[in-house]
Symmetry: C3
Subunit: 471 residues, 3 copies
């Protein structure tokens, strides 16, 4: 039996008729606003080259760790999903087989945001009308394949169709930004910018750190073996990113630790790090110092700073050995902010011209640490719920946990943070719906008037993000 | 004034009429499914001997630490409740007096699951029609006493009436399983199995550890003073349990620590543990190593592994000295899983033939650590909310916290985990109702179609638990 | 455009019509009950002298760190709000300008309890009928100013109008309690008592600790340089507080650590503390020992003990240097109770005549540690959600997190804990509404009968607090 694929127009709204009515009215105000996507991981090459996406599996499954982690958890080897092995060993290459393997197990995603995003893409991007099942797998595969061969499904056409006002990708300082330059220099009128993500050159534990820093020196003509040259090289690359429209930096450290060391200590740590001789504790201090240095540079060049701490990367040893990074095996850990951020805040916390956006994957810190910090320090803002919490329940918990202490105006709207290009409209739609649902609750129990909720809905969907990211 | 004892047919369902209708339809599909009880602490002797339960206090109060902990917290000495003292000192023996003491304070249980379970047993097992109060205490006591004297209230009759398809108890490797053997060898056609709980012989801090290990040697003919003999003895007892139908092991360690030590280190720790000379840290490492050893054995013999970490046992020193273990003084502590499980997961995490079911009493770990781990590792599944969280709010929080990341199919259905035999139908009923209420929410706000919710309701009540526990 | 200032009569009640009806009926039973305010920080001088409050800014903004922290977080310097600098440097003194600065930014408080409290005071204390905005700022300022000049807006008149049965303030042992004595000796028939807050003389890290302890000696004629004299001096001040009606002590330590040291260790720590030579760890142990000493004294003199742990005080270094304590820069930290309280509980945990009320600002401890502890130990009770969690969502989470394990009767009703006198009726009203909303949920999904909910609503609003605080 094949069921219709229905995305109900009231999805994610409260069930109570009074509240639902309010939510509908609020959503009507925001649903057609342009998408501001200030943080994500799409590939700028797609937009620079505008080649067709090759097939449904390559587009929707192979790059999406939300999808393959769930299949892996239920016993599907990553090889069967076409994920490339580091050693070049054999993996499935038949896109249809990969698609079938996924479709047969689509029930595993019930109740997950992945299901919602994929259904949204199937229905609204590709016009699919039947639910994805083992039975419909082949027909839907063929239909998507047919679409992908058409010009209106090329990256630029989709970007325009998605009504994206600005999209940020994320690059390392070592990236030459050629794709961004090409987009900018061409005649396509889209705003696609990079975010400066220096982890490979500021984290001594990053694979190839010393080589990365040397390459940084090569790119900039600075002596990155000296502390001052190293900082100058970073500042130079920030300028290069900024010149191509970049407005933000991003920092994915294992913790939120910041430090404020004296110059001699910094020089000593850099030397050790380049020699590969840092202890775990020294590496932590080096990263912590670099957050403070980045804050200082932000105060100078105006780039907005994003901190994404708390992920234990590559937790599954064998998967890391066989497949590398970003294979769905990053696991959140308990994250402390109050002591960790103090050295940086003691230096720059009261600067109204600095913006530091904090993300978290430890929800227990939301009401305890993050909302109180953001509700006090002028430089701090709260990023939206991240990663596993980019989900209806995660978003609702976030609003419920932080609003009473930090208000709405210390938050920065939504980030889709995705590699899955087709999920961008779906993700923003979910965020807008959930915010409207939350606001409808406040209106329905008379904590807020509806005219205020209307203004807030628009601020949360559009204005706050533009303002926070200076876009 | 005596009020009617009402258990409303819509209890625990959402109030919104639309959602309530969905919940009712889902619940109708599952309410009469047989009970699978894969983890609990009922006494197999009850079923082996089938003697009448002596009186209401002995049946319902004295063995139920949920009940006497609350009374104790409000100033009732355990002696007044008939809890036996270790020193044989005088305690109340008049069952009616104990019952009255409880009934006078029944308002203390408002809003607790204990109240719900007890009302369920009073209403549906004994047919009581008035609410328990000081005024009705005596009449209800007499009524229950009268029931208990009838054959249809003997353990086996109740077991059959409760529609239990399979019930697991929990025994130490030192248990001779005579009650299980007697049940199996008799002509009563019930499936009652044990679970292998080796804490007394794998935890150096357990009372009488060295003696326990020696007894293990005696039972198996192995030299348990040697590492290989010790492991062989454990493997032999696992086989003996398995021969009587056991399908799982259970591990109640203070933390989730696992280790992967070399053989010499293991031998050294065993020697120290047997000599009673382990430091706290060494005892922790020994327990951690034994979890990894148990995982290895599970991969060989197919027993499903359950880990129940995070309880600070016997927190009240004087109560422990006077009354012993399991006196309602076990308090949850912060529990870390991400680093703790890594040594075991590095060894066996990707084995699709291994099943490790994780329980928690630190809810902050649900969305942060457990759902992400279970949504990735093939061997991991999430047990239902445990102990204090075997409750409507606890269950709802669990589903809301884990579903979006781990889905439904990395969870394993319900465990009643109880010593209170009469609460088993009540607990399963609560779990089924809460799951239906949660699913109704997802249907009502269009995150799930109702046909999918129906399939899920049945999976959560019946199929997942059978499959996860290989029952 | 000026909008009406509406406080809907059903605010904070559930939206579902059935639940809302129950909530209304419950609230009708409690809305007019007298206010019991057992813990707060109003200034007794107001009531002793009964002078008019000078102006709207001095009354409503300058003393309210909830308000100025939010404005500061959005870039308003504290100087602009008239907060006095330690160095006597210039700050805004024009009350109208301060008020305008606040009114222009009133949207920042949307969704916060501050908004609700202030609207309540504007509407019900001052009869304001328009929403506070940039446009209405001046008119509302003038209106409040006019009110404040009238006798019925003096402190005593407002106290009587607010229907406060008893109000506790908080004083240091070094306070001479002259204002309390004056209130008591006058002919005004109000019950205003102190709470004994010994932090300045029991915390070696408190500013001026040694001098404070010497002053304590001076006040009591005890040799506070000796351990026995120090304890005797504390006991004497407790007696002096008690003589003026005080029934409780309060302890604002950074953690919940308690200790049970031998006398020599205590003497050694006191000597070091007075010499200013404690390490951080020794200061922690000293504070921990003093909690146990205070518990012992409470067992003797009957004062109820309150523990408020977990705040990182004065987190913003520059704000502390420029403006001092209580400037909205106190940030909650992770707080551990299970190990921390054990030494004290091992000594006194089972004493039914001792009452220790625990507060928390780490919500993750509610279901994990606090409810299980309070649901077991006879001496323990749970204080209401504190500080950032004195809010509708915070209160609901608290009830949902603790009720199933600790019941209602191990909680102690509401504390307003405020310096903002005019927010007292608003805060109690919010607490009563939220409790009624929560109880209505339990009735609506049939976890509780309505007659029980009625009794509970009254207990939670009135009886529990009187009983717990012996008022």
């Amino acid at each position: 039996m094949t069921e219709a694929l229905v995305l109900h127009e009231d999805r994610l709204f409260p069930t109570d008729p009074g509240m639902r009515g309010i939510a509908r009215r609020l959503y009507a105000e925001v649903k057609d606003l342009p998408i501001i996507s200030p943080h994500g991981h799409t590939n700028p090459q797609w937009f620079a080259e505008d080649l067709p996406f090759p097939d449904p599996a390559t587009l929707l499954i192979i790059p999406d760790h939300y999808i393959f982690r769930m299949l892996f958890s239920q016993g599907v080897p990553l090889e069967d999903l076409g994920i490339p092995r580091r050693d070049g060993g054999a993996v499935e290459t038949d896109a249809r087989k990969i698609w079938r393997c996924f479709a047969e197990r689509y029930h595993l995603f019930r109740g997950t945001p992945t299901r919602m995003w994929l259904d949204h893409a199937l229905r609204f991007v590709f016009g699919v009308e039947k639910r994805l099942t083992e039975e419909t797998a082949d027909r839907i595969f063929d239909h998507i394949q047919e679409c992908l061969n058409k010009p209106e499904f090329r990256p630029r056409a989709l970007f325009d169709r998605f009504n994206v006002e600005v999209l940020a990708t994320t690059e390392s300082p070592l990236d030459d930004l050629r794709h961004h330059a090409k987009i900018r220099d061409g005649d396509w009128n889209a705003r696609i910018v990079s975010a400066f993500r220096p982890d490979p050159v500021v984290d001594p534990d990053f694979e190839g750190f010393a080589g990365n820093v040397a390459a940084l020196g090569g790119m900039t003509g600075e002596d990155t073996a000296s502390w001052s040259g190293y900082l100058a090289a970073l500042a130079a690359r920030r300028q290069a990113f900024k010149a191509l429209g970049c407005t933000s930096t991003d920092h994915g450290h294992p913790t939120a630790t910041t430090c404020d060391l004296d110059r001699a200590a910094c020089e000593g740590l850099l030397a050790k790090a380049l020699a590969g001789k840092c202890t775990a504790e020294e590496a932590e201090r080096f990263r912590g110092q670099m957050l403070t240095e980045m804050a200082r540079m932000s105060l100078e060049d105006g780039l907005v700073m994003q901190i994404h701490p708390g992920s234990f990367r590559n937790h599954n040893r064998r998967i890391f050995e066989s497949f590398g990074r970003d294979m769905g095996a990053d696991i959140p850990t308990r994250t402390e902010f109050v002591h960790a951020l103090k050295p940086m805040l003691d230096r720059f916390g009261n600067e109204p011209d600095l913006t530091v956006i904090l993300f978290m994957i430890d929800e227990s810190s939301q009401s305890r640490e993050l909302a109180p910090l953001a509700g006090h320090y002028p430089c701090l803002r709260l990023g939206p719920p991240w990663w596993f919490f980019d989900s209806p329940e995660g978003m609702l918990r976030f609003r419920r946990n932080v609003t009473e202490t930090a208000g709405f105006y210390n938050t920065v709207g939504f980030n889709d943070d995705t590699r899955a290009f087709l999920s961008i409209p779906a993700r923003h739609d979910v965020a807008r719906r959930v915010d409207c649902a939350y606001l409808a609750e406040l209106v329905a129990d008379h904590r807020l008037e509806e005219d205020e909720a209307r203004e807030l809905a628009i601020d949360l969907s559009y204005h706050l993000v533009k303002q926070a990211y200076k876009l």
